[in-house]
């Protein structure tokens, strides 16, 4: 389950679940992502690591349509995300198309971003009711199940301010899952937590990976977790993928000097 032998991304017959094709992102003069090509297969778990400013968070944010792209195209499950097909050609996606495609993607944020004026249960019910049109009872049932799955079945009526950081992040995971996305994005989800609270969140992610057929992209600093959990690791540096490969091989034998330097520095910091 952890290591796969046929490791070339996109080698399967099925189209990749996520494809970045020549994607570029600029902030003024600064090129954050430089003509990025990245394929993620269905059910694949990819860990994205790298120094800050390397563009890794931008990759997730663009996939979640929180940022626009300047060049290139992003595809999700065979359909274009950032563009749409009009008369055989690709044009920039309009808001309706974006909204439709966005439903395939879910995201968990570094700072949780739970809705503070709603209980844990309501947080998980809101979008299914408002966006998916579920009835109140259906949404409540789904939310209850998910919150139990992340170990918070007894905290349904708690407000975020009454929960620890680890608990809040688990609610955030349940909230994102309630929308039944095909792709789950995790943006440094343990970076804002006290070290002893990381374990409970990582354990939930591990369970997710085992029991649900989700495609997962994770930006993380947790190298140990990435090594053990991810199928593939991508090392980003200055807006490009410097090196990538199956997790175990990547960590055991990093090829590039920069990768080795980075991994050494991160391991020393622990």
């Amino acid at each position: 389950m952890n290591n796969r032998n046929d490791t070339t991304p996109g080698a399967e017959d099925a189209p990749p679940m996520v494809r970045f094709a020549g994607v570029t992102k600029r902030y003024g003069d600064l090129v954050v992502l430089d003509s990025l090509d990245l394929d993620v297969a269905a059910h694949e778990k990819v860990a994205i690591i790298g120094p800050s400013g390397s563009g890794k968070t931008t990759v997730l944010r663009m996939l979640m349509t929180l940022e626009t792209i300047d060049d290139g195209t992003i595809w999700v499950d065979g359909e274009p995300l950032t563009h749409m097909e009009r008369g055989g050609a690709l044009v920039r996606a309009d808001p309706q198309h974006l909204r439709r495609m966005r439903g395939h993607i879910g995201m968990v944020f570094q700072h949780f971003n739970l809705f503070p004026h709603m209980t844990a249960l309501k947080n998980c019910m809101e979008a299914p009711i408002t966006v998916l049109g579920l009835s109140r009872d259906e949404a409540r049932e789904r939310a209850g199940e998910l919150l139990s799955m992340v170990g918070l079945g007894d905290k349904l009526d708690h407000y975020p301010s009454q929960l620890s950081g680890g608990q809040q992040q688990r609610v955030a995971i349940a909230r994102a899952l309630a929308m039944r996305p095909k792709v789950m994005l995790f943006d440094e989800v343990t970076s804002a937590l006290d070290p002893e609270l990381c374990g409970e969140v990582l354990s939930v992610i591990r369970t997710l990976g085992r029991e649900h057929r989700l495609t997962m992209l994770m930006v993380t600093h947790q190298m140990g977790f990435a090594r053990e959990f991810a199928d593939r690791v991508c090392f980003f540096d200055q807006g490009r993928i410097l090196e990538q490969g199956p997790a175990e091989a990547f960590f055991a034998q990093p090829r590039e000097a920069r990768t080795q330097q980075f991994l050494r520095a991160v391991m020393e910091a622990v």
Binding site: T65, L114, M118, A127, S161, G165
Partner: protein, 244 residues
């Protein structure tokens, strides 16, 4: 009603009645009915003006943020004009100049409208600021959950902005209360008018103006207390406490 609230209301009413009785025994006694009538008019103008101001603030603030371009500009013009000119000038303009355009309103209506438009312009900026103060992460989380902008505003952002709005609105409402004294200058018999009138009739200047100032002070404190309790109730889940 919770028992504590009932008790507070009963105690407050008794204290007020007792205070009135005691005051009526003092040399101020004969002035009190007149002053109360004036205070009533002040309260009506303040209440009407507040509601109008709230409506204008929401309308102008939201339009300024999310409306189509021409309406946005209109909201901007309204806000800048009424914030940039004097409340008294606005009041006089509506009172003296509108009739020339064929619109003749009762002084009460003019007063409420002028105050509502004036405070509403400041309120629009409060609304804008409060919506802006909601963390960007909330918008992003809502986007990630695929809520539309309207849904996000209605269900996520405005409820949080509402709490942020309460303290500045409290200040604005006190400003509005003080501004009601201006309507005495367009012949409304409010508290300020009564003060002037009684002073000219009886020349008991210190007593009259002293008590009038105290009444305004009392009304201000009432507003402040009301806003504080509103804020407490509205921020139930939002207590910005430390996360463990």
């Amino acid at each position: 009603m919770p028992p504590k609230l009932t008790l507070a209301l009963v105690a407050g009413t008794l204290a007020f009645a007792a205070g009135l009785y005691v005051a009526s025994l003092t040399p101020l006694g004969d002035l009190i009915p007149e002053l109360l009538r004036g205070a009533q008019v002040t309260a009506v103008v303040a209440l009407g003006g507040s509601l109008f101001a709230l409506a204008m603030a929401l309308l102008a603030g939201l339009t300024r943020l999310y409306g189509p371009a021409p309406l946005r500009w209109l909201a901007f013009a309204y806000i800048e004009t009424f914030r940039g000119t004097s409340a008294l000038v606005q009041l006089f303009w509506l009172f003296f100049v509108l009739p020339h355009f064929g619109i003749t309103l009762a002084p009460m209506a003019v007063g409420i409208m002028a105050l509502g438009l004036n405070v509403g312009a400041y309120g629009a900026e409060v609304v804008r600021g409060a919506i802006g103060s909601v963390a960007q992460g909330q918008w992003e989380a809502a986007t990630a959950l695929n809520l539309s902008r309207a849904q996000t505003l209605r269900r996520i952002v405005l409820p949080q902005a509402f709490v942020a709005m309460i303290p500045p609105w409290g200040n604005l409402l006190i400003e509005l209360l003080k501004a009601t004294s201006l309507v005495s200058l367009i012949t409304l018999s409010d508290l300020a008018f009564k003060a002037q009138q009684l002073n000219q009739n009886t020349l008991r200047t210190v007593e009259i103006f002293g008590s009038v100032l105290l009444v305004y002070l009392a009304m201000s404190l009432l507003i402040t207390a009301g806003m504080r309790s509103l804020e407490r109730r509205a921020s139930r889940g939002l207590r910005r406490g430390k996360v463990a």
